[in-house]
Amino acid sequence: MTGSLARYAKNPAALLGLVLLLAVIAMALLAPILFPKDPLSLAGRPLQWPDLGGRFPLGTDNSGRDIAAQIFHGAQVSLLIGLVATTISIAIGIVVGALAGFYGGWIDDALMRVTEAFQTLPNFLLLLVLVAVFGSDITTVTVAIGLVSWPATARLTRAEFLTLRNREFVQACRVLGMGDLRIIFREILPNALPPVIVYASVVMAIAILLESALAFLSLSDPNIASWGNLIGAGRNVLRVQWYVSAIPGVAILLTVLAVSLVGQGLNDALNPRLRRNPKP
């Protein structure tokens, strides 16, 4: 484990990702202290250009709300949506993939057909349907994002289980008289987890992007200060006051980049042998 940490620390891109991610987390934590007022309340004249020394360092949007306050509070929302949706998606994916991979046969067939049904539909379209049917408050949106993004995790977990279930150590557990569930979750899963953890970073990035995309179409929860909502609001003034959309856009870009870099760094740290060989 310390070896993995050391390998992670030696990877500059992964460290950059970690620093960016920590910065976003810091923004989320500092939001209530720096901007104690509701970020969606009117703060001043609408569409003021960013002025780093002034009252609104990042300007105001077309309703006269403070963009800086929305960015900081939006960090909270984006991270929360990312984490919760990823947890839901990974949990479903692991259970489906583990059962399918371990048992094989008709259980595998049934679970994989369901997975394929989810995979063949573009997940954003499915998300739109779910939000259209169940409404668009923040909880529904988060759960819906989790529900549409598990199939890839399930496939990954299944592939790991398929190779691991025939290992001799699994047979040894069966010979000892261990029950199936214990073998699946206590013995095989820890060995199957590293690639799934790495993939979780991809899911998290996708979750943040999906929420922004919904918000851009004004289909996310309008009562919270999310980055996507801000971009959606700026859409109407995009040609002149482009900063209204660009600032949250950059925030999303940096967050997704941070999460991806951390994921890639984790991948290199956990699977050192898969890295390209250094040139002799």
């Binding site: 040894a172 010979v175 261990m178 214990r182």
Partner: protein
């Protein structure tokens, strides 16, 4: 002896920092002359394969030759540029690898792969290349050369694939052939045929062969000269006859002493009258492949096998790959469900139990697995692995860990090591952990599936002694699956020989070895490499006086 074709002078190869030692090879000097077979023999980690990679300049990244020369025809191969080296590989030095399945490209037909050698190194046209390849396939005695040209690697058997590899290595008539454990992955009868082929071709072409192996039986079979390596050092070198029969270095002596003799060990007469503890009756297992659309194929892995294991004895099940011996072991332990027949342990029929009933009976019959690396969960501590069994069957954690500690001592491991992870142990130690895990449930019967085949010969001897000793002390009965007749001779009271899922011969070990009744048993015995040498060595061992005069050291 003529001028050496290849001479390795004071070669040292440095390993990257962080490896378990600083040099893979340390000041190794060897020569290889035309028309001789030089066997480089050593255990895993001795640097013998690294030697072959250095000569071929195929070292893994980060590993470099730090000093010394590899001279061939007056040029130092280590100083050649990569394009120059490419003209040496294949054309002047051919190489055969251990695993013919992975050494061949699975997407290319065998004929095209061998043909590539000519396409790269010569300007022959297609028809000429085809003729050349066909001639080569005839020379390596592939059964149907025309068909082999068009066959993909997976359509050939292991022995045939190795013949294709040899044909490829011979294509450009190299002066030197390097063979890196070319028969290790093969069955014993196939191994005998491939060894004969290599020796025959070497004689006919007057090639020099550098033959890397861990098996002294193979050395006795084909070597003209022998070089023994340990930890990257050349320990001993000399004519085969001298090194094999009058070894000078302590390490060589220990290695040779660890080779199990082919004559059955003298065992206390027992088991003849003991009641059987395990009776396998008419057990069959078939595999069906192919689903809705594919053509169905039925394979009889085990066919109507009846065997019995007397209390307190060891029953060996020997056979080549595909003989069904491992399937039988997995049926006994209920990792596989039998199709027919019964497996009576005491008065319980294991084959008739439901899954959950079998889980409760699990403590009565346990298994030791083949691969010491794959059979231990890498994410659990050694002590936990051993304590798991008793804990599954209701023992408290503290008590189970205390028991694991005792078992560690019993199998010859440091009880303080229970907190370590499997990767911190060597192969032999891992196999001891696997044994402790099986013993933790205090089983009546132990099924051992090739428990020593992945181990070095010196470690193998220790583990076999441990198994034998524990069987006596704990009153265990054991089913011992192996492909290695030497091992079987040492540890088994009775032996069953399997071929294609059927037991062709079964009896007391000494009788099966000394007077085999079935043709297949005779063929197996005849194919064991170095059996003449073993017989002579055994004779010498019986006359210690002569041995002493022969080796003044």
């Amino acid at each position: 002896m003529s001028e050496p074709l290849l001479s390795i002078e004071n070669l040292s190869v440095r390993l990257p920092s962080g490896a378990d030692r600083s040099h893979a090879l340390n000041d190794v000097s060897l020569t290889l002359s035309a028309g001789e077979i030089l066997c480089v023999v050593g255990e895993s980690g001795s640097g013998k394969s690294m030697l072959a990679s250095t000569v071929m300049r195929l070292l893994p990244p980060g590993v470099t030759a730090s000093s010394g020369r590899v001279l061939m025809g007056g040029t130092d191969l280590l100083t050649l540029s990569e394009p120059e080296m490419r003209r040496v590989r294949g054309a002047r030095i051919g190489m055969i690898f251990q695993e013919p399945m992975t050494a061949l490209n699975p997407l290319l037909r065998a004929g095209d792969q061998v043909g590539e050698m000519f396409a790269i190194h010569t300007d022959l046209d297609k028809a000429a290349i085809r003729e050349k390849v066909l001639a080569l396939f005839r020379e390596v005695r592939l059964p149907d050369p025309e068909a082999a040209l068009r066959a993909y690697p997976h359509e050939l058997s292991g022995g045939q694939r190795q013949r294709v590899m040899i044909a490829m290595a011979l294509a450009l008539e190299p002066a030197v052939l390097i063979a890196d454990e070319p028969t290790t992955a093969l069955d014993v009868t196939t191994q005998a045929r491939i060894l004969a082929l290599i020796e025959d071709i070497q004689k006919r072409r007057g090639m020099a062969v550098l033959f890397i192996t861990h098996d002294f039986g193979v050395v006795a079979e084909i070597a003209d000269r022998v070089a023994v390596m340990q930890h990257g050092l050349l320990v001993e070198e000399g004519p085969a006859e001298a090194v094999l029969n009058r070894p000078q270095a302590e390490y060589t002596k220990a290695l040779i002493a660890a080779v199990p003799p082919l004559t059955p060990a003298e065992r206390r007469p027992q088991g003849a009258d003991a009641a059987p503890i395990l009776r396998i009756e008419n057990v069959s297992k078939t595999y069906r492949s192919g689903g809705l659309f594919a053509t169905k194929r039925v394979t009889h892995a085990v066919k109507d096998v009846t065997l019995s294991l007397p209390q307190g004895t060891t029953l060996g099940v020997v056979g080549e790959s595909g003989s069904g011996k491992s399937t039988l072991a997995r049926c006994i332990i209920r990792l596989l469900d039998t199709d027919e027949g019964s497996i009576q342990l005491g008065d319980t029929d294991l084959a008739a139990l439901s899954r959950s009933e079998m889980r409760r009976e699990a403590r009565r019959i346990q298994m030791v697995f083949q691969d010491p690396y794959a059979s231990l969960n890498p994410r659990r501590r050694a002590g936990e692995l051993v304590a798991q069994g008793p804990m599954v069957h209701g023992m408290g954690r503290a008590e189970a860990l205390a028991k694991a500690r005792d078992l560690f001592a019993l199998v010859g491991l440091d009880p303080a090591a229970i907190d370590r992870f499997p990767h911190e142990f060597s192969g032999g130690q891992r196999q001891r952990i696997g044994l402790a895990r099986a013993l933790a449930l205090e089983p009546e019967v132990l099924v051992a599936d090739e428990p020593v085949s992945a181990l070095d010969v010196s470690v193998q001897a220790q583990v076999l002694r441990l198994l034998d000793d524990l069987r006596d002390r704990l009153g265990l009965s054991m089913v011992f699956i192996t492909h290695d007749l030497r091992v079987a001779a040492q540890i088994c009271d009775r032996i069953a020989v399997m071929k294609d899922g059927v037991v062709v011969e079964e009896g007391i070990t000494a009788e099966v070895f000394l007077a085999p009744k079935h043709d297949y048993t005779r063929a197996l015995l005849a194919a064991v490499p170095g059996r003449d040498w073993s017989a002579k060595a055994a004779e010498r061992a019986r006359q210690p006086g002569r041995m002493a005069t022969a080796s003044p050291a």
